[in-house]
């Protein structure tokens, strides 16, 4: 599904984050539009994950706002924040499944907390969600019995349990083999196209970016903010900024300076 460009579901306004004297980023502003797959990229340490944590309400920014459908979630009361959290789903880097529960119990948790469905209906939904992520038959397994890729897929099933409007992914394919990473990419595309869910994804896997992203935001550590925004292939082909070019073309920023190594 192509994003409807004129309907921002999330508006990030002049967002800043700092830890003590260390400024992570400053005055970051962008929109996430309904139904789009927005990918946030950047080198390690540029603040991608911090930005994501602020957007999902896990961390307060030092300045600025995150508006979800017009409501400021950065300064919202816990009650309003909980309403926002029921509208979003998050997949953490490690999957973050509750290890003491089975996969079925993990997915059932938000359903039993926020709905008045009976156990039969909940079971049907669990089966459907597991089917969507290709994990049918793993209901009674514990997270420790699954592989890394399966855990991520189960995490996606849990994140999608309440049919969220926005899905957030932190380091989607980190630590996965190329085939599993590709399966996840396909799952993202399928879910986005079928359900129209807005997706905000933090990653630096170029192959995934070209495949799944409608739009890319690039954060930079030195600039302490966004240095590029656009469609991935456009950024690859038209970028003039050497930092953007080097990222999308997988090249070192400049030719190595004076060698600092001892050569006989």
């Amino acid at each position: 599904m192509e994003p409807s460009e004129n309907k921002p579901i999330i508006v990030v306004k002049n967002l800043s984050a700092r830890f003590g004297d260390n400024i992570v980023f400053e005055n970051v502003s962008f929109n996430a539009y309904k139904g789009e797959v927005l990918v946030i990229v950047g080198a390690s340490g540029c603040g991608k994950s911090t930005l994501l944590r602020i957007m999902i309400g896990l961390q307060k920014p030092s300045a600025g706002q995150v508006l979800y459908q017009g409501t400021d979630i950065t300064h919202a009361a816990e009650k309003d924040l909980n309403l926002y959290r029921q509208d979003i789903g998050v997949l953490f880097q490690s999957g973050a499944l509750f290890s003491s529960m089975t996969i079925k119990e993990n997915i059932a948790l938000p359903l039993s907390e926020y709905t008045d469905l009976d156990s039969e209906a909940i079971n049907r939904i669990i089966k459907m969600k597991l089917g969507m992520v290709n994990l049918t038959g793993y209901e009674n397994h514990r997270p420790s019995e699954l592989s890394g890729g399966m855990r991520k897929r189960a995490g996606i099933a849990r994140a999608m349990a309440l049919d969220p409007r926005v899905l957030f992914f932190d380091e989607l394919s980190a630590g996965l083999d190329p085939v599993t990473a590709m399966e996840l990419d396909n799952l993202i595309i399928k879910t986005n196209e079928a359900l129209g869910t807005t997706m905000v994804i933090v990653t630096h896997e170029l192959e995934s970016i070209y495949k799944i992203a409608h739009r890319v935001l690039m954060l930079d550590k030195e600039a302490k903010g966004i240095i590029a925004e656009g469609k991935p292939l456009e950024l690859k082909e038209q970028a003039t900024d050497p930092r953007v070019k080097s990222f999308f073309l997988r090249q070192l920023p400049t030719a190595p300076a004076e060698p600092r190594f001892y050569v006989n």
Partner: protein, 385 residues
């Protein structure tokens, strides 16, 4: 990393030197690596400084093994010679040796050691930092206790929100699974008190007071305290480690993003389960303590079982039993709250989990003793008036 085949390479190295006028030629043969680094570096330096040299040439043609540490040592020798205005050349390196030399970063020669880069904080700064840490810890603990009380009140008002399955699980883990060790420790404590008091009281012919001493001591102090310490060691630490690991695995973050209050979800079942089981375990410890005393009483004090039990019952007052159980419940609240709070303090890594697990046990035991002292004074005045 070899210049000849590994089989031909001799583990021992050889250094030969030849002087031509004031120029020294050092010929290296064999293996040069981390294992003999100190020795061969010393040998080469000795050769160079044996006479006043104008130039140094080190020949690598017979070197059959060279690792990066050895190459770094030769670069260091070269630099030191250059600093003394003695040109030093490393010659006849084959391609593999050149490759090893090419990865040596010059920074490795510039920085003298890592230790010098670690700043040594002054005493006052350390005291200040430690005070700040204690103050922060106190604020964190008070905040957590406040949040826990709010969560407990919420659970009381909305009993359906309580995860009953979790409460039962922790009742089993902290209570049922702890029964054997509590019984054993209670029995041994009873035996010890009976035996120690018997040694003293027999001199006065007052053996008949041993049952009173054992039952009074067990019910008033030792039963609740020993049980609480055991639960702190078994369950307080387990709670801290469990929650700490969940923090590390982002499970607590996941709870937040799903709109669950982690304290209500994770801490409340543990606290309630512990408050339920510790008084029961205390009764159990008291009972086995008295049994322990009875064993000594019957076998060593010539008391009949009936006399021992009658004497014990005479000493036990309902007030003491009730206050002892209240005390046990308070200890239980402390142990579980501290265990959970320390777990939530974990930020990253296995080291943090270990640190806060230890801290959970130490803090809980310390607070048990402090609260017990407060109870002792309080009960004295309550009984008096």
């Amino acid at each position: 990393m070899t210049t000849q085949s590994q089989q031909d390479c001799q583990t021992a190295y050889k250094i030969a030197s030849k002087w031509r006028d004031l120029n020294i030629f050092i010929y290296l043969t064999g293996e040069f690596g981390l294992r003999n680094l100190t020795v061969f570096t010393g040998d080469v330096k000795r050769e160079i400084s044996s006479q006043k040299a104008q130039s140094v040439t080190i020949d690598f043609s017979q070197v059959c093994y060279l690792d990066s540490a050895a190459a770094l040592a030769f670069v260091q020798i070269e630099k030191e010679s250059a600093a003394q205005k003695i040109p030093c050349r490393l010659v006849n390196l084959n391609d593999e040796s050149k490759g090893i030399f090419s990865v040596i970063h010059e920074d490795a020669l510039i920085h003298p050691s890592f230790k010098s880069e670690i700043s040594d904080d002054g005493f006052i700064r350390q005291v200040g930092q430690a005070s700040l840490d204690i103050a922060r810890d106190f604020v964190h603990s008070v905040t957590f206790i406040g949040e826990l009380l709010v969560a407990l009140l919420y659970t009381l008002r909305h009993p359906k929100s309580l995860r009953g399955k979790d409460v039962l699980f922790y009742v089993q883990r902290a209570g049922v699974d702890g029964l054997p060790i509590v019984a054993l420790i209670g029995l041994l404590i009873g035996l010890i008190i009976a035996f120690m008091s018997f040694l003293q009281l027999k001199q006065l012919g007052a053996n008949i007071y041993v049952p009173a001493l054992v039952s009074f001591g067990m019910i008033k102090e030792l039963g609740p305290i020993m049980t609480a310490i055991l639960v702190a060691g078994r369950s307080g630490s387990a709670f801290a480690a469990e929650i700490g690991t969940m923090v590390v695995n982002e499970e607590v973050d996941a709870l937040h993003t799903m709109g669950f209050d982690p304290i209500r979800f994770l801490a409340v079942p543990k606290v309630l389960a512990t408050i339920i089981v510790v008084p029961i375990l205390t009764i159990y410890a008291d009972f086995f303590g008295i049994i322990g005393g009875l064993l000594i009483g019957v076998t060593s004090l010539d008391l009949t079982t009936k006399t021992y039990i009658t004497q014990s019952i005479k000493t036990i007052h309902v007030f003491d039993v009730v206050t002892s159980l209240i005390k046990a419940a308070v200890f239980a609240g402390l142990i579980s709250a501290i265990g959970c709070q320390r777990g939530f303090q974990v930020r990253a890594g296995a080291q943090d989990v270990g640190k806060y697990t230890t801290s959970a046990v130490v803090t809980a035991i310390f607070l048990i003793v402090v609260v017990d002292s407060i109870f002792a004074v309080m009960l004295y005045y309550i009984k008096r008036y």
